[in-house]
């Protein structure tokens, strides 16, 4: 345990009369991969959007102790008037990446993501769904975030890309980075997940370290993240 990089206390968010998130309390430990689980409509995405500042929370507190936060949305959308290269340059400008360092990071990340740099002079909005997702990863990772938040990390990606992204997550964590992954694909994150958070009907109902929880719970030695999910959210 090396301290919390993200603390969410008593978060609530409504859209009109719909209470999307009723009470979200959780922490994300530095240097971990935390999986945010919940059935459809449980409030995962709304919680993330409130944490990221895309929607305004009605109640609660969000404390981020990261100098740089990265975000990859479930289905990245880009302005139709921007090329991939524009987005790379804007991102680099935002974090003051010098050209040499930008090139070094691009040369490092693009092959890891199997992202074809030849696409960059084209309009990003016209990329395939998979390439849009890869570009979103590329942009987020270019900034070398110490907290990376990903909504549905594997959507639109093919199996080789899923494998590459999983490896990237592990590499980021090994360098001291922190990841918060919101996903339905439990099997894909099970092997890399350190901690889990479960949200159900807008309320965070469980949070723990996965290995510790499985050791102390009576789910059995064969149990995994899927059983944890069904235990709390099923």
């Amino acid at each position: 345990m090396t301290g919390a990089v993200l603390e969410v206390r008593g978060l609530a968010k409504s859209f009109g009369s719909v209470r999307a998130v009723k009470k979200a309390d959780f922490t994300v430990r530095r240097g971990t991969i935390t999986t945010f689980l919940g059935p459809n409509g449980a409030g995962k995405t709304t919680t993330l959007r409130a944490v990221l500042g895309f929607v305004t929370k009605n109640r609660g507190e969000v404390v981020v102790r990261a100098s740089r936060v990265g975000f990859v949305p479930e289905q990245p959308v880009f302005f139709p008037w921007l090329q991939g290269l524009d987005l790379v340059r804007l991102t680099a400008r935002l974090v003051r990446l010098l050209p040499d360092e930008l090139e070094r990071r691009m040369s490092d990340l693009a092959p890891q993501l199997h992202f074809d740099r030849g696409l960059l002079p084209r309009r990003a909005a016209a990329y395939s769904a998979g390439n849009r997702k890869k570009l979103a990863y590329l942009l987020a990772l270019l900034t070398a975030p110490d907290l990376l938040i990903v909504d549905e990390p594997f959507s639109a990606l093919d199996p080789p890309a899923i494998k590459d992204v999983r490896a990237l997550f592990l590499a980021l964590r090994d360098r001291g980075g922190t990841l918060l992954l919101s996903t339905h694909l439990i099997a894909e994150v099970e092997r890399i997940c350190d901690d889990f958070i479960v949200i159900r009907e807008g309320v965070v109902v469980a949070q723990d370290n996965l290995a510790r929880f499985l050791k102390t719970s009576n789910l059995g030695s064969e149990a995994g993240l899927e059983k944890v999910f069904f235990l709390f959210a099923g």
């Binding site: 929607v55 975000f71 990245p76 302005f79 979103a136």
Partner: protein
């Protein structure tokens, strides 16, 4: 990330969008064509009058599609706009577009002045009207920005143009009962408060009217309305959340 870095990114983004829209080229080109036509067919003075009467529309047309469509597109939900930075981007677009339109207008006015000097005429006495046109133009940008918090794509501009056309039709069909207002606009003498208020209402919809005499005192109304529209838009954007309806 410093606020300076963020400002540079925001300005760059706004410029990329403006550049891609082509309206920053089309609107001045159309205005130039009208001015050239007026000069060729009539006189330099007529050309200057056309330019002064129409250049505030460059501000209006540049103000198409400023807020709502972008907020609903999903494109602002990315790493560039975390922590509510999308609001700063949306708020900065108005002043940025007004600055672009002012630069284009200034360039065109300078060109017209030089062309006039070459032809032995000069429109410098019209500099005051040009200043009033800039006030009207900035008001157009503020109005377009405010409307774009509700109206999608270019419908904010369309709404202004349609409202102006409707107002002109109304005046045409009721011209006999509006001779007081028309006379006052012609002479610059305002017989009563009602006429002044009528003109103020008309100028709020068609700000170019303040250039007609020129009517400097009424430009204060446009300045006040610009400030009001700007702060109203700002208040709406501060409460804005991202997401598709």
């Amino acid at each position: 990330m410093s606020s300076r870095d963020w400002l540079a990114v925001t300005v760059r983004l706004a410029w990329l969008k403006t550049r891609a829209g082509r309206i920053w080229l089309i609107a001045p080109a159309a205005l130039l064509a009208v001015v050239a036509f007026a000069w060729v067919r009539d006189s330099y003075d007529t050309a200057v009058k056309f330019f002064l009467g129409l250049f505030p529309y460059v501000f209006l047309f540049l103000g198409a599609d400023m807020v709502r469509s972008e907020a609903e597109s999903g494109a602002l939900e990315c790493g560039l706009f975390l922590g509510g930075r999308f609001r700063e981007y949306l708020m900065l677009k108005g002043p940025f577009l007004a600055a672009v339109a002012a630069a284009i207008s200034l360039l065109m006015f300078a060109g017209l002045t030089l062309a006039g000097l070459a032809a032995g005429r000069h429109p410098l006495p019209e500099a005051g009207r040009f200043g009033l046109g800039l006030v009207a133009g900035v008001y157009y940008t503020a109005l377009a920005g405010l409307l774009s918090t509700r109206l999608r794509a270019g419908s904010n501009v369309l709404a202004v143009v349609v409202a102006q056309a409707a107002a002109l039709l109304l005046v045409m069909f009721t011209v006999t009962s509006r001779t007081g207002l028309l006379n006052a606009m012609e002479t610059g003498v305002w017989p009563d408060l009602k006429t002044r208020l009528e003109f103020m209402a008309a100028a709020a919809l068609i700000p170019n009217l303040v250039l007609s005499r020129p009517l400097y005192i009424f430009s204060l109304e446009l300045v006040a309305l610009t400030v009001l529209a700007f702060f109203w838009q700002r208040a709406i954007i501060r409460r804005m959340e991202l997401g598709r309806p």
